[in-house]
Every structure is written in C-alpha cells, then in structure tokens.
Amino acid sequence: MNIYKYASPATFYPLAGRLIPWFAVLAAMLAAVGLYLGLYLAPPDFQQGEVYRIIFIHVPTAWMAMIIYLVMAAYGVMALSFNARLSSMMMEALAPTGAMFTVLALWTGALWGKPTWGAYWVWDARMTSTLILLFLYVGYIALTHAIEDKKRADKAGALLVIVGSVNVPIIYFSVKWWNTLHQGASVSVTSGSKMASMMALGMLVMALACWMYAIAVALARVRAIIIERELENGGAANWLNTLNTQDKRQLTR
C-alpha cells in the first residue's frame, strides 16, 4: 500500500519539483567539466587530430539513446504488472528525450563520418542499428499519440516498448551479421585503442552530464503530464490547488 502511495502522481509531483533543480545544476556542472576535459585537457588524437573530439558528444548520446529505451522498457514492465500510472507517465516523459539523444548520436556520427570516412552516412552496423532505434522511439510516440483513451495508450505503449526492447539485441545482432556479410561498407571505429585516460574521463563525465540532464528533463516533463491528465480528468481541484502553498512551505524550510 505504501508503494502505491509514493507512486501516486499527487505525491510524486512535489517531490519531482524539488529534485529538478539539483539534477539541472549537476547536469550543467558536469557538462562544463566534461567539455573542459574533452576540448582542452585531452590531447589530440595521433591519427585524427582534433576531429575526434566530437566523441565527447557522440558517444554519450549514443549510450543514452540505448539506455533510455531500456529504462522505458523497465517502466513498461512496471506499468503493465502493477498497473502503475506513474510508470506510464515516466515512459511518455522519457521518449522525446530518448529520441533527441538518438538524433544527436546520428547527427554527430554523420558530422564525424564526413572528415574521417569521407561520407556523412555509411551503413555501419552501429549507425544502422541506431537509426532503427530512432524508428522504435518514433513508433512509440506515434502509437501513444494516436490512441485517444489515455489508459489504453499507456498500456499499448508499454507493451510495444517491451516487445521492442526484446528485439533490440536481435536487431543489433542481425545488423552486425548483415554487415559482416557485406564487407565493403564496414568501417570499424577505433575503439579499444590506447585511449588516453583523459579522453576516457572526459567521456565518462559527459555521460554523467547527459544522465543528469535526462533525469531533470524527464521530471519536468512528467510534472507537466501529471497536470495535463489531472485537468483532463477534472479531478485537479483537490490536490493541485494545495500544491502552491505546499511548494512554498518546502522552499522556506
């Protein structure tokens, strides 16, 4: 019973409000440190020179693209098994951020590809599967927007993301398989090479910055979704009105 209480939108709304500034500030600080590490302290690559520095954006965003989809799938499992409204709202809040990171990963990948491979796009296994991941995000967003009944949209979206996440490894494997079959296009990224520790650190800090950003944005968006739904249900009056005073009390504390 307690879990339900804490997972209820009415309790979560003020909690999220208090957490957002922390995550936002952390994201900004980590990003500043990460960019400083990556753009100034890290040495130029002996092969690629300065061009490689885009990995400080590219790699973290690619990680986030994948991780957010998996997090959504985890929320999807909770949404379906515990009938938890908040989990579905978190999925809805995370999807645009995940899609944005996927687009960023593809974009920065293309920008990196032009000087290194001579083309904006090559059918490399990672880029191809990232593109498919973008399709999965778009599919989720399209489905949940097309279904008018919110309850049904939540559950349908949850099931779709679960099915999709089961397929993600299969898709990745199949694309790699396809890539080795067609040797011509394959370009291997020079990962695993003696990467300077400064580079690794920079990437890690940037990844953390992305995490914090994703959490802050998702929390802000979930607050908006909570209000939106409460207003739609017409039941907003009870607790939404009391929020302002609550928030003030907590701030002065």
Partner: protein
C-alpha cells in the same frame, strides 16, 4: 398472466454447468480458430489474391526502375523479393483483427473457455496460410525472372516458408495494438517494420549466401530459431495487446 412460449432445449442443458468442471483441450481451440479464419479468408478470396498480385507487381517494378542488366538483377533478387513479401504481408495485417474487433468476435474469443493466446495463435496461423504461404509458393516464378538458379530458388522458398510466419506473428502484435485507431494501417507499418528487419536480413541473407557459394545453413537456422521463439512468445504478447485494446 401470459405464459412464455415453451422453448425446447437440445441435449445441452443450459445453465447447469458449473464453471471449472468441463475440460477444454487447447489444441482443439487452436484448430477451431484456424479453421474459422481460413474459411472466412476463402469466402473473400479477393483480398488474398490482391495481396498476391501486389507482391508480383512490386517485384516486377524493380527491373523497370533499375534496368534489365541480368547480373545486377540476379544480385538484388533476394532483397527485392523479401522486401516485397514484407510489404505484402504488411498490407494484409489490418484484416487480421479489424473485422473481429468491429463485430464483437474478439470479445467472444476472450470469454471462450479456450485460452486467448491459443485462439490468437490459431488466427495467426490462418493468417500465414492465406498471406505468407502463397507468397512462398509463387516466389520461384519471380526468382526465375531474376535469373536465380534452382538451388537459389530452393533456398528462397525455404527462407520464405520459415520467415513469413514470423512476419505474421510480429505483425499481429502491431495489428492488435492499433485496433480501432485512426490511421491504423500506416501506424502498423511504423511500429512493425523496424521489428521485421532481422527477418529481412536473415531471409535475404540466406539466398545471398547460397548465391555466393557459401553455407546458407546458418541463416536458415536463425530463421528457424526465430520461428520457434516467436511461436512460443508472440501469442501471449498478442493476447495482451488484444486485452489492452478492448479495455
């Protein structure tokens, strides 16, 4: 007071049944579902034939778009046939559940003593019989037009027979999720095509490997594994999707 007309009942005594006493064999439900849907499909043959003609026409468009060069056509044949098969199956997906949704049959299936996953598995099986299987049977004809030899044709048919059931299974999830939704058919394509990619890769890959003189067994085995796993898991996902859509 007017007495109600006497209604003679058959040997089945209505109302006496205690829930939980009679045994229902799941495989019987599967057979009943598959028989029903196959019969319905044959009553409206037009749709089955249309999907098949669509498949043939799409495949025939490629030489016109690319040029009649034999070596190139032979090279792209597996991919072309497989993409056309994907699109053709995709076109037939809406009819998998749409009419059952509108006329209330889905509710009857949900309250049937037979488990819902079994019943939707029967529907998926029937869908394959009238959409995927005909494609596999006509594919050699199209392969010949693209200059595939008999060995390659054999692998093409085998890959389609193993792969198209997976298309029906995954497609059923999309079809069930989008029941009664505006723009449902385009939405199904958007949801399902990304999931079809592995089937496409292994299916077309099998034919390409045999054309390149390599061992095609791995591709077909992977399709077979997919078919097995899909057959065991997707009925539950589809049943869940149907329940969600009818809530």
């Amino acid at each position: 007071m007017k007495s109600a007309p006497d209604v003679a009942l058959g040997p089945v005594q209505s109302g006496k049944g205690d829930p939980g006493e009679a045994e229902v064999a799941p495989e019987q439900g599967f057979m009943r579902a598959i028989a029903r849907d196959t019969r319905l499909a044959f009553r409206s043959k037009g749709e089955v034939i249309q999907a098949l003609v669509f498949f043939v026409v799409v495949v025939s468009l490629f030489p016109l778009a690319i040029g009649p060069e034999t070596a190139l056509l032979k090279r792209i044949a597996p991919g072309v046939v497989w993409v056309a098969a994907l699109l053709s199956v995709l076109l037939t997906l809406p009819r998998l559940f749409a009419s059952d949704y509108q006329d209330g049959t889905l509710e009857q299936l949900m309250l049937s003593p037979f488990p819902l996953p079994v019943m939707v598995a029967g529907k998926m099986g029937a869908h394959w019989l009238v959409s995927g299987l005909p494609l596999a049977l006509i594919a050699p004809l199209l392969g010949l037009q693209f200059g595939l030899d008999s060995r390659e044709l054999g692998v093409l048919v085998a890959s389609l027979i193993l792969g198209t059931p997976i298309l029906s299974m995954l497609g059923a999830i999309g079809a069930a999720l989008t029941l009664g939704v505006r723009g449902g058919s385009i939405l199904v394509a958007l949801l399902i095509l990304p999931l079809y990619i592995p089937v496409l890769i292994f299916g077309a890959g099998a034919v390409e490997t045999v054309a390149a003189g390599l061992d095609y067994g791995a591709n077909l085995s992977l399709l077979g594994a997919g078919l097995l796993i899909g057959g065991l898991t997707t009925p539950f996902a589809v049943a869940a999707a149907v329940k969600i859509s009818l809530d």
